[in-house]
């Protein structure tokens, strides 16, 4: 959001013209997508978020953790208690130690944290050519450009231009700063099969998983906006009433 503020101030100060190209060179600006959660009335497209959870489970979660989420949280994308129990039960998670002091594993419950693919950072790096796949709980908030940026990365893979020397194990991505990203292209057409029959194109999957990730980073958003409207309307009325009282109280003062 600092970037938004920068633009605002740049415009206000009329030095934007001189300064804008300097940032533009860093990395291409992600193009704005239409999101169900945009704007003061926006809420999550739950069908998209559920499909996005499927993409996360079948693709992203092979490398990326989401340690701040619990299976019970999935209520927020419209899953029922039984669905959540079934999803959790299908996952095996560490469950402390047994009577002999040996590490124990067992099926997750709705109260369990999302399973992490690697036990620790070293294991993750060892499996990924030294790169660390970031935790995705907050990824949408943690990147400038937010949902648009994550979408642009997921759909930004291409063949490198002939002039470009790629480092070992790196992949070319139009949107990534420096264009060399350790993550191999995660999505290919038909990578998952959607139960609702939606064609699983790269764009569709990217759109769905970004919707899911935006929910994961801001699960309170819909309730927040609802309360916000009530609050703002209440105080608009209060402002009018208070101003009327003020006029009346001050009527005899000159």
């Amino acid at each position: 959001m600092m970037r938004a503020l920068r633009q605002l101030l740049a415009a206000a100060l009329l030095v934007g013209a001189a300064a804008a190209p300097a940032w533009a060179q860093e990395a291409p600006r992600p193009s704005a997508q239409r999101w169900s959660f945009d704007g003061p009335f926006g809420s999550f497209d739950l069908a998209a978020a559920q499909r996005g959870f499927q993409v996360y489970s079948e693709v992203c979660s092979l490398c990326h953790s989401m340690q701040y989420l619990h299976y019970r949280d999935l209520e927020g994308i419209g899953l029922t208690d039984d669905q959540i129990k079934a999803i959790a039960a299908a996952v095996t998670v560490p469950q402390g130690v047994d009577d002999q002091g040996s590490p124990k594993e067992g099926p997750a419950t709705p109260a369990s944290q999302f399973r992490s693919p690697f036990p620790n950072e070293q294991a993750a790096r060892a499996a990924q050519n030294g790169a660390l796949p970031p935790d995705l709980s907050l990824i949408v908030n943690a990147r400038e450009g937010h949902a648009d940026y994550i979408y642009a990365i997921l759909t930004g893979y291409a063949d490198p231009p002939p002039s470009m020397q790629m480092q070992d194990g790196m992949n070319y991505n139009k949107m990534f700063p420096g264009h060399q990203i350790a993550m191999p292209p995660p999505l290919q057409d038909g990578r998952v099969t959607y139960a609702d029959g939606t064609p699983a194109t790269v764009e569709q999957m990217a759109h769905d998983v970004v919707t899911f990730l935006t929910w994961a980073a801001n699960p309170e958003m819909v309730q927040r906006k609802q309360i916000g409207w009530r609050w703002v309307l209440f105080f608009l009325i209060m402002t009018g009433l208070t101003y009327a009282v003020k006029r009346k109280v001050w009527a005899d003062v000159h």
Partner: protein, 422 residues
Amino acid sequence: MAGQHKSEFSNPLINWIDTRLPIFTMMQQEYGSFPTPKNFNYFWNFGALAMVVMMIMIATGIFLAMNYQPNSELAFGSVQHIMRDVNYGWLIRYVHQNGGSMFFIVTYIHIFRGMYYGSYKSPRELLWMIGVVILLIMMATAFMGYVLPWGQMSYWGATVITNLFSAFPIVGKGIVTWLWGGFSVDSPTLNRFFSLHYLLPFVLVGVVFLHVAALHVVGSNNPLGIDVKSPQDTLPFHPYYTVKDSVGLCVFFIVYAVLVFFAPNFLGDANNFIPANPLQTPADIVPEWYLLPYYAILRSVPNKLLGVCMMFGSIFVLFVLPWLDTSPVRSARFRPIYRQIIWVWVVSFVILGYCGMNKPEGIYVILSRVATLYYFLHFLVILPILGKLERPLPLPESISRPVTGGGGPLPSGATAKPMGKA
């Protein structure tokens, strides 16, 4: 009952208490019948607004502290716990997080009000200086509060700012190690920042009390900047200004709510959603928006020690502002040149803020140096000279009898007085 206060309250319980401890009489005198200039504009809302934000910050902060863990291993996760699992934790946290910004917005406007209408001039010098102490405590509190979520910008902001003290020769390094409680910013630093972040707001309450006490001794300034001369110039604080402050408060709550409910992270930094990592420095380390102008002053000077001195100097110069401004006229309304150049100073302050969020390269170096120069020039050169050279406009005779006609009929008491003898 010799020595006892004679209370005028009719309610027997209130009367009983008030006779023994006259707090009700005090409240009645200081906030009920307190004579207040009748010509305040809405700029005079902002002191009350700052008081309200302070109380909101303390209330929300106490609840956040119940669920927060000041430990480098747990801090980031405990904030996520507040955001996701604590009932309405997200609301409490966003109100607190954006409350910091709102606190600075209203305080900066409050300070500008004081500068524009010359509220710092005799007899309000000490009132003003206590206000500058409030600003310093706010900055320290806000800085330490920003460290607590233990994101990347928290960690690196703390590293950069604490490292400033290393600029002082000989003792510098020792001071930094002492501040950190170790050899880098780590858990001991976080733990003590949490302790101080909880303590300082209560120190702030004490200093705000002194600020208000000093105000109630010398009385409020007003948009005309002239002294209250007769009871016709004043109104009782209640209901006139309680209701006028309430209007401002309602508008303030709308602006605050738009930030909290629709753009809670607008003023934040994406990097602070990444847990602190001592091995990875963010591309650009920037403080919160309200500290950017001072950060720009710091970075505009090539010498570190000088930069640190200039940065602190930019606040300390406010302490002596009452003596730097040599004009006997308070309000900018009657100072034709001052009322223009005060805006140039505001622009230089905004430019500094803008430079503060950009890397000190190219145009920003020049821009921030020019703005820094003007910032100090305004206080140290222009104001002392201007007071001697400027020809102020004729001042009104009294608040209830403005020199430029208009207004309503004069109050009956004032008409009896001959012109030119207030």
